[in-house]
Symmetry: C2
Subunit: 557 residues, 2 copies
C-alpha cells in the first residue's frame, strides 16, 4: 500500500515535471474547453447540434491543426488514457446522473430499465459477438481469438449514456429519458462487468458450468455494487444529519458529499465491483436522503456544482476523443488496407443497429404486457426513439477497446490496429451522425408540447404559465416541488398478484412504505426535510426560485 | 507543444496504471480527508484547534501507522510533489481568497498591504539570509553556496496564507484579516518571485546593476501578473454578460468561471509570471464584476463551490505535509547529527521571529503616520497580532525548499538533507505550536465583542440580533449587503495632496469613480447588478438568507 502510494506520487511528480510543454498543453486544453462551452451555448438554438458534437468537432480540428504545425510528424497528439477516463472523468458524470434523475420516474420504470439494461445488453452482446465472428473470420484481418470476439461484443454493447443525456430532455420526455438513460447506466455497468468477466474467465471452452459461474458473477457484482452505493449514500445522510445538527456549515457539507460520493466509486474499484453502478445508486440515495438534511444554500450549491462538474467532464471526454482520433500511429498500420477498415466499421455499425433492434422491440412488447394503463405502455414511436437514442457509442467503448487491443505494444499487429481504428470510426460516426439526427427525430416523434402523461408532476393542460416554472429550465425546482408527496401513503396490503401484474408499481409502493417507516427516522430523507412545507423559509425559497425563473423566462439579464 | 501534450498524457497513463496499490492509496486518502472534515467539525468548538492542525496531526499519525505496518522499511510513504501543489492545490485556495475577500477593506488598506507584503518580505528575506549565512557557516553543515543562503531567506519569508485564513476571522477582525491575509498573498508572490530570481540570476557577484535589474524584474512581474488576473476576470464578466443575455444557464456559467480562473493561473505559469498574484486578482475582479452578472443560483453556487474546493485543497495540503514529514530517507542522513538538525531548526525559527518583528513594527509605525483617524491606526495590540499571525510557515515553504534542495538526487548531501528536515521541522512546529497559540492570542488581544470600527458595514453597538445575520456565519450575505454602496460617489477633485496624505483612500476613491463611469457599462459590475436593490428577487434572496441564518442561529436542523 505504502509503496503504491509512493509510486503513484512519484509518477505524478514526473508527470507534472514542470516542463514548459505540458503547461502549454494544459493552457490549450483549458482554452478549448472554454471555447466548447461558448460555442455550445451559441449553437444551442439549432436543432441539430449539441455540446458533445461541438466538442468532438473542435477536438478533431485542433488535432488537425497540431498535426499540420508539427508537419505530420507528431504521431501522438493526445493519447486516450483509459484510467484518466475511468478514475476522474466518468465518476462525476454518472454520480450527477443519479443525483439529478427523477427518482419517481426511475423507480416506477425500474423493471423495464433492468430488463433493457441487463437482458437487452446481453442480447446485443451475443448478436454483435456472433456477427463479428461470422464476418471478420472471412475478412482476413489478423488472428482474433474467441475472447477478442466476445470483447468486441461487450465493447459495442456499451451505449453512450453521456451523449444520451445531451439529446434527450428530462423535462420534455421524462418517461423516455428515464428509460433510455436508466438503461444506459445499467448497460454501461453490464458491459463493463461482461468485459471484465471475459478477461478473467478462460472462455476457450464454454460449457454450462462456466456460463452459470459467469451469470453468478454478474449478479454478485450487480447486487454488491448497488448495496455499496446505497450504503455510502446512507452514511453521508447519517453523518450530516447526526453531526451537523443546528450548526450546518455549507462548505463542509458540500465537501463531505463530494468526498463520500468519490469514496464510494473508489471503494467499488478497490473491491473490483462495478463502480459505475455504485456511484449511480450513491447519487440516487444522496439526492433522496442527504440532500434533504443540508442547508438551503448547500442544496442549491450541490445541485449545480455536481451538474457543472459533470458537464465539464462530458466536454472534456468528447474533446479528448476528438483529438485522439487523429493519432497517426494507429492509422499507419491500416493505411495499406483502407477497404478492410471501412468494411469492419460498416459491419460493426450494422451489428449495433441490429443488436439494439433485437432487444428494444421484443422487450418493449414484454414490458407492455405487464402494464395495464395505456399511458404507461411504450408505443411504437417511443420504441423507435429508444432504439435510436441508444445507438451512440462513446468513451466507454473507446476505453474498453484500448484495454483489450493495445496491451503491451500490440498496436502494431494488424488485427488490433484495425479494431482500434474501427472503434474510433464507429464512435465518431455514431456520435456525429446518429447524434445529429437524434434531436430532430425526438422532436418529430415526441413533440415537446405533448408532455408525457406519466410525468411524476401532473400538470393540467393549459397551465402554460406555471408549467415552465415547475418543470422547465430550473433544475432546482423539480426536486423541491415533489416535497410533500412522500407524505402520501396507500394503506393497501401488498399482494403477490399486484406484484405480478404491476411489478414496478408494487416495488415503488413497498419502497415508499419502508422509506416512510424506518429510513426517514434514521437518515432524514424527505419527511423530516429541514424545509418544512409552508414554513417561511420554504415559501421564501420557492418564491425566490419562481421569481428567478420568471426573470429568466422574460429574458431579463 | 504536441509532444508535450503527448508526454504529459503518456505519463498520466503510467501514473494511473490501474495497479491495485494506487487504488488502495486513493481510498485511504479520500477516507482520511473525510475524517479530517468530521473531526475538524467536532473540534471546532475548542479554542485551540483548527482544521489545518487536525489534518497535520492525522497525516502524521497515518504516516506512523504506515511506517509501522511496513516494518519501518517503506522509506517513502508519500512524497511531497511541488507540482501537484502548485498546479492543482494552490490555485483554488488563492482564487477563493480573492473571491471572498472584502474588497472594500482590501482596497482601503491597499498601501499598507503592499508595504507589508513587498517591503516587509524583502526585509525579512535579507535578515533571514544574513542570519543563516552568519550562523550556518560556523556550524559545518556541508557547503551551502551564497544562492543557497538567499534561497533560505526566500523560503522562510513565505508566510502560510492558508493557515492564516483559518486562525483569523474575516467577520470578527476585518482590518486584521485583510492586512494579514492580503499581506500573505503578496508575500507569497514576493517570495516566489524572489526565489525564481535567485535561481535565474547569477548572484555570486552582487552589484548595483544586478540589484536594479532584480528590482525591475520584480515590479515587471508584479504589474504584469496583476494585469493578467484583472484581464481574465474582466473577460469572464464580458463573456457572461454579452453572450448569456436573457438565457442564463447556471451550469455553463459556473463551469466557465472555473475554467477562466484556472486559465488565468495557467497562463501566468506559461509566461513565467506570478500565478498566485494573477489568480488572486482574477478572484477579486470576478467577485466584483462577473458575480453580479450571473443568475442568483450561480451566485450561491459559485460562492460555496469555490469555498468548498479551497477548503478541500487546504486539508489535502496539510494531510500531505503531515504524511510527508515521516519520510525516512530524509531523516536517515541527519540521524547521525541530531544536534545539528535541531540547532538549524531553532536558528531558523528565531530568524523568522526576528525577521517578521523587524518589519511589522517599523512599517506599522510608518503606516500609522499616513492615517489621520485613530480608528485606522494599527495599535500595538494589532501589531502584535499581525506579527504573530504571520509566523506560520506552510506548503509554499515546503515546495520551495524541495525545489532548491532536492534537485537531481542531491538529497544524500548532508547540507541539503539538513535543510529539508529543518524545513519540515519549522513547518510542523510553527503550524502546530504558533498555530495553536494564535486563536487564544487573537481572542485575548482582540475580543470579538469589540468589532473593529473600520468595518465596511457600520454596525451600531447593541444590535446583537442583526449583527450575526449581516456579518457572521453566512458567507453569502457580506457581498450582497455592500450592494448599493458603489452608487455613492464623492465629487471632489483628486488632489495630489490628498493622495500624499491618505494614499489608500485616494486610490479607493479614484477606483470607485472609474468603476462607476466606465467599467460598469462594459462589464456589468455592481451598478447594473441583476439583483436590483428593493426588487422582489433581492428582497426574497435577503429574506431567505436571513431566515436561514435565524434557523442556523437557533440551532434548528
Amino acid at each position: 500500500m505504502a509503496i503504491g502510494l509512493s509510486t503513484m506520487l512519484e509518477k505524478t511528480e514526473t508527470l507534472l515535471g514542470s516542463d514548459h510543454a505540458s503547461v502549454v498543453s494544459m493552457n490549450l486544453f483549458v482554452a478549448l474547453l472554454c471555447a466548447c462551452i461558448v460555442l455550445g451555448h451559441l449553437l444551442e438554438e439549432t436543432r441539430w447540434m449539441n455540446e458533445s458534437i461541438t466538442a468532438l468537432i473542435i477536438g478533431s480540428c485542433t488535432g488537425i491543426v497540431i498535426l499540420l504545425i508539427s508537419g505530420g510528424k507528431s504521431s501522438r497528439i493526445l493519447v486516450f488514457s483509459e484510467d484518466l477516463f475511468f478514475i476522474y472523468l466518468l465518476p462525476p458524470i454518472i454520480f450527477n446522473a443519479g443525483f439529478q434523475v427523477k427518482k419517481k420516474q426511475f423507480f416506477r420504470n425500474f423493471m423495464t430499465i433492468m430488463l433493457f439494461g441487463a437482458i437487452g445488453t446481453l442480447i446485443s452482446f451475443v448478436i454483435i459477438s456472433l456477427g463479428a465472428k461470422h464476418f471478420f473470420e472471412k475478412m482476413n484481418i489478423g488472428d482474433l481469438t474467441i475472447s477478442d470476439y466476445l470483447a468486441i461484443g461487450a465493447i459495442f454493447s456499451a451505449t453512450d449514456s453521456v451523449c444520451t443525456l445531451q439529446v434527450l430532455n428530462q423535462d420534455d420526455t421524462p418517461l423516455l429519458y428515464s428509460l433510455v438513460f436508466g438503461e444506459g447506466v445499467v448497460n454501461d455497468a453490464t458491459s463493463v462487468v461482461l468485459f471484465n468477466a471475459i478477461q478473467r474467465f478462460d472462455l476457450t471452452n464454454i460449457n454450462s458450468t462456466i456460463a452459470l459461474e459467469f451469470a453468478g458473477n454478474f449478479f454478485y457484482l450487480f447486487i454488491l455494487s448497488t448495496a455499496l452505493g446505497v450504503a455510502a449514500g446512507l452514511l453521508s445522510a447519517f453523518v450530516i444529519k447526526k453531526l451537523y445538527i443546528g450548526r450546518h456549515s455549507t462548505d463542509r457539507e458540500v465537501a463531505l458529499m463530494m468526498l463520500l460520493a468519490y469514496l464510494s466509486y473508489m471503494l467499488a474499484e478497490l473491491f473490483h465491483l462495478s463502480s459505475i453502478l455504485t456511484v449511480f445508486f450513491c447519487g440516487i440515495v444522496m439526492s433522496h436522503y442527504t440532500w434533504h438534511n443540508v442547508t438551503d444554500k448547500s442544496k442549491v450549491t450541490t445541485k449545480h456544482t455536481f451538474a457543472a462538474l459533470s458537464f465539464l467532464a462530458e466536454i472534456f471526454i468528447f474533446l479528448y476523443v476528438g483529438m485522439d482520433a487523429l493519432d497517426i500511429e494507429k492509422w499507419d498500420v491500416v493505411r495499406n488496407s483502407p477497404g478492410q477498415s471501412i468494411g469492419v466499421s460498416a459491419i460493426l455499425l450494422g451489428l449495433i443497429l441490429l443488436g439494439r433492434a433485437a432487444f428494444v422491440f421484443p422487450l418493449s412488447f414484454l414490458s407492455n404486457l405487464t402494464k395495464s394503463s395505456p399511458d404507461e405502455k411504450i408505443d411504437w414511436k417511443k420504441q423507435v426513439t429508444i432504439w435510436w437514442a441508444g445507438l451512440m457509442r462513446g468513451a466507454v467503448s473507446m476505453a474498453l477497446a484500448y484495454n483489450q487491443f493495445t496491451t503491451s505494444g500490440h498496436t502494431k499487429v494488424l488485427g488490433n490496429a484495425i479494431m482500434i481504428t474501427s472503434t474510433i470510426t464507429v464512435v465518431l460516426f455514431s456520435t456525429v451522425v446518429f447524434g445529429l439526427l437524434t434531436k430532430p427525430l425526438v422532436k418529430h416523434l415526441q413533440p415537446s408540447s405533448k408532455r408525457s402523461s406519466t410525468t411524476a408532476l401532473q400538470i393540467t393542460p393549459g397551465s402554460s404559465f406555471h408549467d415552465p416554472l415547475l418543470n422547465g429550465g430550473s433544475s432546482y425546482e423539480p426536486l423541491l416541488s415533489t416535497q410533500g408527496q412522500s407524505e402520501y401513503t396507500i394503506d393497501q396490503p401488498i399482494s403477490l398478484r399486484m406484484f405480478l401484474n404491476t411489478p414496478s408499481r408494487a416495488i415503488h409502493h413497498y419502497w415508499r412504505k419502508f422509506d416512510n417507516a424506518v429510513m426517514r427516522r434514521i437518515f432524514g430523507g424527505r419527511g423530516v426535510s429541514p424545509i418544512v412545507p409552508g414554513s417561511p423559509v420554504e415559501t421564501s425559497v420557492r418564491q425566490w426560485s419562481e421569481e428567478a425563473e420568471i426573470k429568466e423566462q422574460n429574458g431579463e439579464p
